[in-house]
């Protein structure tokens, strides 16, 4: 495979070592992380979105579902900081509640994909042979699908609803996790301590869980951090196409799509939720880049 600059195809040059994060290691990581201004900004954005999602009930000035709390399609005013949409719902409240869907889908989808992909990558890399060939050929097949197209196909199969959106988004990210994990397992597998464990009679699953996994974890965490923004973009894309959580759920992608029809008379309906989405994505990308540079300097560009 010639994917020379694609981070997920990079084989491990050296097994990444993860020391148990004692105070000194953690502090060193934090110092390295804090030097990166973009990453700190990203962390701040991420925390802000988390607070929005967790405290939506406290922060939102109105109920996001109640129509006619103001005139329809009203631009931002003191009563409605982000204006109102075509049903006269308060946009700020909808944006704040929208953070919930975005975060839950983004994080849960990536965790699911990580769980599946890492397990497959561990098994494929450690056992090799036919199991490896079978798993990785399926992963190659999945990898050939552009993520949004796979998600669209999954939504066609499963039907609508938040749970299905999470699964549809997760499926697209399984293959990258499996590839990264397998590449690193192949490198770690040759280490003398694995050989020693095997000779000592430790079973395969135990070796994988106790000795292989901890040593390939750093690049996987980096990968996960980098993928959350992609998962949120995919979810917004599905919602924009009308394949996301059904209305009237407050979702950023659907809000942007609804506002499209009023772009001439009420441009704020479409543009303001998009700003929330964009700031979140920029923040997550900067945070992901920062984590990559901190935890996994060999992937640094």
């Amino acid at each position: 495979m010639a994917r020379p600059l694609d981070a997920e195809a990079l084989p491990a040059q050296a097994p990444a070592t993860v020391a148990t994060p004692g105070t000194s290691t953690a502090r060193r990581w934090w110092r390295r992380f804090a030097r990166n201004r973009g990453a700190v900004f990203g962390l701040a954005v991420f925390l802000a979105v988390v607070v929005m999602a967790l405290c939506a009930d406290l922060l939102a000035p109105y109920d996001p579902l109640i129509q006619g709390v103001g005139p329809a399609n009203q631009p931002p005013t003191w009563a409605h900081w982000a204006g109102t949409d075509s049903f006269g719902r308060d946009m700020l409240s909808r944006i704040i509640y929208g953070a919930r869907i975005a975060l839950v889908v983004g994080i849960v989808a990536v965790l699911l994909a990580m769980l599946a992909g890492v397990s497959l990558g561990l098994v494929a890399g450690y056992y090799g042979g036919k199991v490896d060939a079978l798993i990785m050929r399926v992963m190659d097949g999945l990898f050939a699908f552009p993520i949004i197209i796979l998600a669209i196909a999954m939504m066609a199969v499963m039907g609508f609803g938040v749970k299905n959106v999470i699964i549809a988004v997760a499926v697209g990210f399984v293959a990258p996790f499996a590839r990264v994990t397998r590449a690193d397992v192949l490198a770690v597998k040759e280490e003398p301590y694995i050989e020693a464990a095997r000779l000592a009679g430790v079973s395969g699953p135990a070796i994988i869980a106790r000795h292989v996994l901890p040593n390939v974890l750093a690049p996987i965490i980096v990968q996960a951090a980098l993928r959350v923004s992609g998962a949120i973009i995919t979810e917004s894309g599905l919602s924009f196409l009308g394949l996301g959580p059904p209305p009237p759920t407050p979702v950023w992608g659907s809000m942007i799509a609804e506002g499209r029809n009023f772009i001439v008379m009420a441009p704020h309906v479409s543009t303001i939720p998009g700003i929330a989405l964009m700031v979140t994505i920029v923040g997550l990308n900067l945070l992901g880049d920062g984590l990559r540079d901190t935890l996994d300097p060999r992937l640094r560009r």
Partner: protein
């Protein structure tokens, strides 16, 4: 060289096989009986059995897959159950606008990315570097569908420079077609440029760090000459690959972008088909889309091997 080509082609066939199995399985997982859907409300038990046998649903799954694959290989994707048009025809008609959007976006994106990536690498850590990389991550992070709406708002609603929606094949009416592609291509192309500019920068920095460049610098070769004559060609080879391999990402992005601009492409076709439960179209569109991605990736890999003999050994 020949061996590399053959093994790459073999890998591609394997991927296409897996892709076909994945799509076949997905389509079988859709709830509901396709035979019932084709028959409509009024039918006899006998007619049901006859159609079921005709479609091969009474045979084993493997046989069904073989029958299905044979039809696909003949280019027979079935009929749309709503208006009974050939799916192959519908998909092809939708594929052309999407493809022209992807190609136009690649052009726009490359035109923006190459200069900004080079400047960023040549003046590393300067304001130029920060500015162009900041711009890159900014446009890369903007969801394409939202960017499209903002561009429509500025350039169509306010300035009235470009039409907001609509599509004309550039090969039927060149200027009109290109004119209508400008905003969609900027929407998708800037996303692409953000990605490529970052890769050009890192690739160029890596090459500039190599011994032969240091040697040239020691000989007193001027900095500009160093970059343009010695480093750039080597730095751009992997970038060409990355540009090609992003075809799939761009195709996915095009699905969203064309929805914004009312381009009658693959995205609109597929989404409408999903909402109408017209699964023959969904299947045909996804097959053709993924097939295109796999074939482009193969072409890119082979071109790369041709440009860079070092890879062939691997």
């Amino acid at each position: 060289m020949l061996r590399f080509f053959l093994s790459r082609i073999g890998q591609t066939l394997a991927v296409l096989f897996t892709v076909s199995v994945i799509i076949f399985v997905l389509m079988r997982l859709i709830p509901g009986d396709p035979v019932l859907m084709m028959l409509g409300d009024d039918f006899t038990q006998e007619a049901y059995q006859r159609l079921r046998a005709k479609l091969g649903f009474d045979r084993s799954v493997v046989t069904q897959y073989v029958i299905w694959l044979q039809a696909i290989l003949r280019g027979d994707f079935g009929d749309s159950y709503l208006n009974h048009e050939r799916v192959s025809r519908l998909v092809w008609d939708a594929f052309l606008p999407t493809l022209s959007l992807v190609v136009a976006s690649m052009l726009v994106g490359t035109l923006v990315a190459v200069p900004s990536g080079i400047v960023a690498a040549m003046r590393k850590d300067s304001a130029w570097d920060w500015g162009s990389m900041g711009f890159a991550i900014f446009v890369y992070s903007m969801p394409s569908f939202w960017k499209g709406i903002v561009l429509i708002w500025i350039f169509s609603v306010h300035l009235r420079w470009f039409p907001a929606v609509g599509y004309v094949h550039p090969w039927e009416n060149f200027w009109e077609g290109m004119w209508r592609l400008v905003l969609p291509a900027i929407t998708l192309g800037t996303f692409f440029s953000g990605l490529v500019a970052r890769i050009i920068r890192s690739s160029l920095l890596e090459v500039l760090d190599q011994d032969y460049i240091k040697a040239a610098r020691a000989r007193g070769v001027r900095r500009a000459a160093l970059v343009y004559r010695h480093a750039l060609a080597n730095a751009l080879i992997p970038v060409v690959t990355v540009i090609g391999l992003q075809f799939g990402t761009l195709l996915g992005g095009a699905v969203l972008t064309e929805t914004v601009f009312g381009i009658p492409g693959m995205g609109r076709l597929t989404v409408a088909a999903i909402l109408n439960r017209d699964y023959a179209i969904v299947q045909g569109a996804i097959l053709v889309g993924v097939f295109a991605v796999v074939v482009v990736n193969l072409a890119v890999d082979l071109t790369y091997a041709f440009l860079n003999p070092r890879i062939r050994v691997a």
